[in-house]
């Protein structure tokens, strides 16, 4: 509702500025071009990094200091805290990183965003960057024709930088010509009243533009042209930081619990940092004056001093807040609790994980494992077995002997209520993810989808087995019970081996060899059981009708075991090259 009123109002205000003032028009055009540049840079880095950014954010966030450092570096290089946030929320949803790591990355990212201020003050104002902008745009467009994502990405980065430089040049030109008619510096305010008024301006500007980097670019260009006073510029920079929290909180309203948790972490960080910066603004200004000459910044270079101030107060914020990451994480987990998932609801597949290929693949894998675990529960219960006994150290024969009671389970009902939704979610999200993935990623998705289908087929296979197993138990046909116990024993053997594979932490080629051995043994067992059935028929111990049921059920059991082993290859071998070697259909 608020957005419906504010958006047209802002549109009218901008239109009025553009119509009435040609200088304002140039400045606003500069901001627009700058924002286009940021957008190109963000997309370019997505393509250029080819997953490297995601790998770095996943691997180097195990401790809070590491996470802060990674968040800082990633944001400083990519020049986009929103891209880093999207990746972090996506990873968090796929459980690739912990909430503590994600909060650390967000803190580091706040320091990383100060790189824009350095870029603008060091290059944007010192050299005639508009001269470099045009060649960058030309070469960027040419590189965009490339087939390889790396060059396409590099092209986008060049276009982005070109637009950013062009935007700064426009803003600078606008402020310079504006000064001839209207000197905003006349409205400079001293004391804490000025501090608060300019913080408010900075925050509003950031909320409107939705980018603290763009606000910082405006502040620095306005400062360099003398349109604003230095101390007011410092207040505006604090305001820009506070303004991002509003943007983050607004963006998180429609997000999942992870997005909300991170938005609150961001809010807490920026509010504490803002309060500290306001309280110590004059001391920090003095500190900047002391540090500036040491860094080779001229006393009169207010733009670079502002960039230094921006970095110092964000670093100070991290120093203050970082020791409290763990209590903050506990608070966030209490504030946004994990909703109790309804039966058959996906645990990992959300719109957020689909944003990033690495997390989309991992979420699909984990959801397929979720489907596997749920299906296995139904399968073992249908075979009148309990998982705690299966995965115990007890001898298989003893487990079989003791598991004689019938377990009431309606496989059709389980499928409809628990499994169908999960399976549908895997199908839906695997289709959605394909457009974001490369060839290998798509092949992996295909394998996961095939595995999900195999898992569902296993459940359907066990439905037939269950009927006969319980029938012969009911009529107490000992020979048939004995044969069915052999099938149950084979299932337990394979499940135990798969559990070992699941927990194995060594070479993945060893896992593949082990699975191949199990497949070989399973084939042998099928032959042995069929021989036993033949002798039972010859000796008139079982009727041909019974034999046909048993032969079918032997087939079902071996089909289940084979599918279990093939699922293990896809779900627990991460190296795709090794996984492909275990491909069933390639001999």
């Amino acid at each position: 509702m608020l957005k419906r009123v504010i958006s047209p109002l802002l549109f009218l205000v901008f239109a009025w500025f553009i119509v009435t003032s040609s200088d304002a028009k140039i400045i606003i055009a500069g901001i627009a071009v700058f924002l286009i540049g940021m957008h190109y840079m963000e997309n370019g880095f997505k393509l250029f990094s080819g997953g490297a950014l995601e790998t770095i954010l996943e691997k180097f966030t195990s401790t809070t200091p590491k996470a802060i450092g990674t968040g800082f570096l990633a944001t400083a290089v990519v020049q986009s805290s929103s891209l880093v946030s999207v990746i972090v929320i996506s990873f968090l949803s796929a459980e690739l990183i912990s909430l503590t790591s994600a909060v650390g990355v967000v803190f580091g990212s706040n320091i990383g965003t100060t790189a824009t201020a350095w870029l603008v003050s060091a290059f944007g104002l010192k050299i005639k960057i508009a001269h470099y902008a045009l060649p960058m745009l030309i070469f960027g467009v040419i590189m965009g024709f490339s087939r390889a994502n790396v060059y396409k990405g590099l092209g986008s980065i060049l276009i982005g930088l070109g637009f950013i430089f062009l935007g700064i040049a426009y803003m600078k030109e606008g402020f310079e010509t504006m000064k001839e008619g209207l000197d905003l510096a006349e409205y400079a305010m001293e004391g804490y009243l000025g501090v608060f008024v300019y913080i408010l301006f900075g925050a509003i500007a950031t909320v409107v533009i939705q980018s603290s980097s763009a606000t910082m670019a405006i502040i620095i260009t306005a400062l360099s042209t003398g349109q604003i006073d230095y101390i007011n510029a410092l207040s505006l920079a604090i305001g820009a930081n506070v303004g991002t929290t509003v943007t983050a909180v607004l963006g998180a309203i429609a997000s999942n619990k992870n997005g909300k948790r991170l938005a609150v972490a961001h809010f807490v960080f920026n509010i504490i940092t803002g309060i500290t910066a306001v309280a110590l603004i004059y001391q920090l200004k003095d500190l900047v004056d002391i540090l500036a000459p040491m860094l080779g910044i001229a006393e009169t270079d207010d733009a670079m001093k502002l960039a230094l101030f921006h970095t110092i107060f964000n670093v100070l914020g991290v120093v203050i807040v970082a020791p409290f990451v763990k209590p903050l994480v506990r608070f966030l987990e209490t504030l946004f609790r994990d909703k109790h998932m309804g039966r058959g609801q996906p645990k990992y597949l959300t719109a957020e994980v689909m944003e990033i290929p690495a997390s989309a693949l991992e979420a699909l894998r984990k959801e397929t494992i979720h489907l596997y675990d749920k299906s296995l529960e139904a399968i073992v219960h249908a075979m009148n077995l309990h998982r705690d006994k299966i995965y115990s150290d007890t001898d298989i024969e003893v487990v079989i002997e003791k598991s004689t009671d019938k377990i009431e389970i309606n496989i059709d009902k389980v499928y409809q209520e628990d499994l169908k939704n999960l399976y549908s979610a895997i199908i839906k999200y695997s289709s959605m993810s394909q457009s974001h993935l490369d060839e290998e990623g798509n092949r992996r998705v295909y394998e996961l989808r095939l595995t999900a289908r195999n898992i569902i087929e296993m459940v359907k296979d066990v439905r037939e087995l269950q009927k006969n197993l319980n029938h012969y138990k009911k009529i107490k046909h000992n020979h048939m019970i004995n044969e069915y116990n052999k099938l149950r024993a084979e299932l337990i053997t394979n499940l135990r081996e798969i559990q070992i594979i699941r927990e194995f932490d060594g070479e993945e080629s060893e896992i593949l060899t082990q699975i191949e051995i199990l497949k070989e043994k399973s084939l042998d067992n099928e032959r042995i059981i069929n021989k036993d059935i033949d002798s039972l028929i010859r000796d008139n111990i079982i009727e041909p009708k019974m034999a046909s049921s048993l032969i079918n059920d032997v087939g079902f059991t071996h089909s289940i075991c084979k599918k279990l082993l093939n699922s293990a290859v896809t779900l627990w071998i991460k190296d795709f090259q090794i996984q492909e070697l275990g491909d069933e259909y390639e001999d």
Partner: protein
Amino acid sequence: MNMKIKDLMENIDDFFDLSKKKQKNKRDKLKKMIKSLEDKKEDLKQVIRKEANRDKKSKICYNLCKEFKAVNKLLKKAKKRNS
């Protein structure tokens, strides 16, 4: 003009082709796997021979034969991929 730029980019792509590097890494990895499987096959042969001399029908011998068969199957697949 457009096509010419595309041709030019394709040439540059071929020159700096990253997929070739990726493919080389994959081939190297496959070769390493083949070597390790071949070593394993040879080791198993020796152990099976010793075990068969002791008791041909033992469970250990059976398990070793299954392992040998599995390793051999993987080795065949890996060699097929490598060719």
